[in-house]
Amino acid sequence: MSDLVATVIIFIGLLFDLFGCIGLVRLPDIYNRVQASTKCVTLGTCMILIGVLIHAGIGALGIKALVCAVFILFTSPVAAHAVARGAHFFGVRLWEGSVMDKFLEERESQKKDK
């Protein structure tokens, strides 16, 4: 029974990983790619590791998978936010179909204050 549950959870995680990577290839600019690929981490790889925990039980493999899942869950949004902010400072333009850029307006208003 727990094998079946673990298989289903690992399969959902694999689907999220595959869709995140397809989004990484198909979407038009860097901000959309960050938005697609962060799902690939938090729902994809964390569900794979939780499935490994359920399949292996409480042992060396399961506890290490749990530790790794918690660490990835905390660090991946931080890294994605830093990369998106760095891309904006690096000067990457938005896709021409994007409708607003609040961060650019805020940066320009801060320049005027100085």
Binding site: I48, L49, A60, R85, G86, A87, F90
Partner: protein
């Protein structure tokens, strides 16, 4: 067990999609995001491979890879932002 081999194959396909983005990405932040996702895929691959082999030391590789991937991505993001590391 057949399912685990299939899972490893799907993760390998995802890895090749990430490699395409690393090679073809028009700007440097695209490549940074693709490298970050590649590290995360390797973590999942190590987990499933440890389950397939029944050994637990593959998860040690996964934990070390997650730590190094995070530190490398933060360093690349700070480099893109154009600041030094102590700000």
């Amino acid at each position: 067990m057949t399912f685990l081999v299939l899972a490893l194959g799907i993760l390998l396909l995802c890895t090749f999609l990430c490699l395409y983005r690393i090679g073809a990405g028009p700007t440097a932040p695209d490549r940074t995001v693709a490298i970050d996702i590649l590290g995360t895929l390797v973590v999942g691959f190590c987990g499933i491979y440890g389950l397939y082999r029944g050994k637990d030391f593959y998860m040690n590789i996964a934990i070390a890879w997650a730590l190094l991937s995070f530190i490398g991505t933060m360093a690349l993001a700070k480099y893109l932002e154009g600041r030094s590391f102590d700000e």
